[in-house]
């Protein structure tokens, strides 16, 4: 393994330690990642996790951190723990100085004049931003195939999907193109890609990370969260981006818990962990079930009590989600009209009126899945249907919250597989929207109720050798519990595997070269 290969395989926590100890510079680390991106991301068989690589700015921030460290003194002391550790940002989150596309043609070439709150916090922590990662257009999808800029490939098997919508962020971390990334999770877009790429992803409690600057899909469901290779790394990043933001009216006023401490002092002894009856078994791949059962066994051995809970209303979650999400999205995406920014397309024939320009712009600028959801949402909100659709879905939300309340009365955390299957083949479900939607069946209830969820690698499925994700869910505002339990399960599993799961992933650069050589 080359020196760079060693560097890029370190966890963010380990990198932070080496940076602080002066064993490596941020420029070296950042350059190593940029080199890795150059090696594996491009080309016809590249991972294609990035839509934009932010070389100059990333190196400039890295050099600034190195200079501060070299100078020593108070400024060096005050550097954030993660200062100098690079990060990738999902291209749904606006950044000054880099394009933000949301994976859509309608925003091609658009530069935001303001930074998202989470991006400001990354800048305050002096974390070099490596670039913007690929996603399903406006985060609408579970495979990243709905990106207007082409799909991202799963580093475990380049013919498979990396999950979605945050496939770019998950694949970047899985392919060692970044130690950390930001994702957004509306119905599972952080956790499901985490599951199918063998990475860790966290959807925080709704309102605990500011949404300001995340291009909205469904306002009452969206949440920004960390993507990483270890549970501790997610906690470190969560601690950077979390906490109250006055620009987001739904931002919780609570002070952030010490998530890093929770990840470092993982413990499940005497804890009650609830298996959600409705979120495993029928409809779940056998290999997924097997790995899930193994994890339960390990937790039991570590002193946890496994109980079974029932959430009978979860069966309505997917349907209610596919009413609330498109309804809010249809309104949130109305602003993309060719007037103030982004694409403008003129109608082919006369008359040239603004109405027709809007219609032509949105016809050309949005992809099929986005149009499908806008039309569905427009339908669900339209006169005469509101009560039956949007109104009923909001009631289902209440039922799902009650299910969670009852379940958390019996268990400290809940557990389930993150996704019913491992990564499927590119193109396999592209023309079957309903089959695609089913990927999120286990992740959606958390968004509907606002509770936090974490997905971590649970091993490889027997039948296809692909990663399986284990999902942990905690009550709202109890994100720390996820890290406490996740850290324990992670260490037990890694002990079993003899190292991180990602060590078993195929050597990527080699595989791309071989493919290209063919």
């Amino acid at each position: 393994m080359t020196e760079n290969n060693v560097l890029i395989r370190l966890s963010a926590a380990a990198l932070a330690e080496k940076l602080a100890a002066g064993e490596v510079t941020s420029v070296e680390v950042t350059q190593a990642y940029l080199d890795r991106i150059a090696a594996v991301d491009g080309g016809p068989r590249g991972v294609h996790a990035f839509l934009h690589v932010n070389t100059e700015e990333a190196l400039a921030v890295a050099a600034e951190v190195d200079a501060i460290r070299a100078a020593g003194g108070a400024a060096a002391e005050e550097l954030h723990e993660l200062a100098g550790v690079p990060i990738a940002v999902k291209d749904l989150i606006v950044t000054v100085g880099q394009p933000t596309t949301a994976g859509s043609k309608i925003l091609e070439g658009w530069h935001s004049p303001y930074d998202a709150t989470v991006v400001k916090r990354l800048r305050d922590a002096k974390m070099p931003i490596l670039g913007k990662t690929n996603l399903d257009e406006f985060a609408m999808g579970s495979s990243t195939e709905h990106s207007a800029y082409g799909p991202t490939r799963n580093p475990w098997d380049l013919d498979r999907i990396p999950g979605g919508s945050g496939g770019g962020s998950a694949a970047a971390v899985a392919a060692f193109e970044a130690p950390l990334a930001l994702g957004t999770d509306t119905g599972g877009s952080i956790r499901q890609p985490g599951a199918v790429t063998g990475t860790v992803g966290v959807k925080p409690t709704y309102g605990s990370v500011s949404r300001y600057g995340a291009i909205a899909m469904a306002s009452s469901l969206d949440q920004i969260g960390p993507v990483s290779r270890t549970v501790l790394d997610s906690a470190l990043l969560h601690q950077v981006i979390g906490g109250h933001d006055p620009h987001d009216s739904t931002s919780l006023p609570d002070p952030l818990e010490d998530l890093v401490a929770a990840a470092r002092t993982g413990n499940v002894d005497g804890m009650k962990i609830g298996i959600i009856k409705e979120l495993h078994g029928e409809g779940y791949q056998a290999g997924v079930e097997n790995r899930f059962n193994e994890s339960l066994e390990l937790l039991k051995q570590a002193g946890a009590e496994i109980v079974e809970v029932s959430c009978p209303n979860f069966k309505y979650a997917l349907g209610a989600y596919y009413l609330i999400m498109p309804s809010e999205a249809s309104s949130n995406l109305a602003k993309f009209d060719g007037v103030r920014y982004g694409l403008r397309v003129l109608p082919k024939d006369a008359p040239l009126t603004i109405e027709r320009v809007m219609g032509a712009t949105r016809a050309a600028g949005f992809g099929d899945e986005v149009k499908r959801r806008i039309i569905l949402g427009t339908y669900a909100l339209s006169a005469g249907y509101y009560d039956a659709y949007y109104g009923s879905a909001q009631k289902v939300r209440t039922l799902i919250q009650r299910d969670f309340e009852a379940a958390f009365a019996q268990a400290d955390v809940l557990i389930s597989p993150t996704a019913p299957t491992t990564a499927f083949k590119l193109g396999e479900k592209l023309n079957d929207p309903l089959a695609m939607y089913l990927n999120d069946v286990a992740t959606i209830p958390a968004n509907m109720a606002g509770v936090p969820g974490l997905s971590l690698p649970g091993g490889l499925a027997d039948e296809d050798g692909l990663p399986v994700g284990i999902q942990l869910l905690a009550p709202a505002r109890q994100d720390a519990r996820l890290y406490r339990v996740g850290a324990v399960l992670e260490s037990l599993l890694e002990a079993q595997w003899g190292g991180p799961l990602l060590d078993r992933a195929p050597e990527l650069a080699a595989s791309i070269e071989t493919q290209e050589a063919k």
């Binding site: 004049p113 309505y316 403008r344 339908y379 039956a388 909001q394 939300r397 929207p433």
Partner: protein, 98 residues
Amino acid sequence: MAAINRDDVAHLARLAHIEMSAEELDRMAGELAVIVDSVKSVSEAAGDDVPATSHPIPLTNVFREDVVGHTFTAEQSLSGAPDAYEGRFKVPAILDED
């Protein structure tokens, strides 16, 4: 619940300001019908006594003090504009309502 047909989709596309070809309307009507059918159980899930939840974590009275913050220059405001003229966004003629 009423099935969704091509005319419905055409009406919705008009409301949503998305031009659609005849072929697209047909395809969309088919796909939406399937999706709408699969979500219809939702309307029967909850009784009248169940309140709606619009925000997952309830908060109230989140306000901002009336203090002036940052503004853009006209140049910044128009930086992404497809067309502009004399500090303003330029748009093709607006169809009069009458």
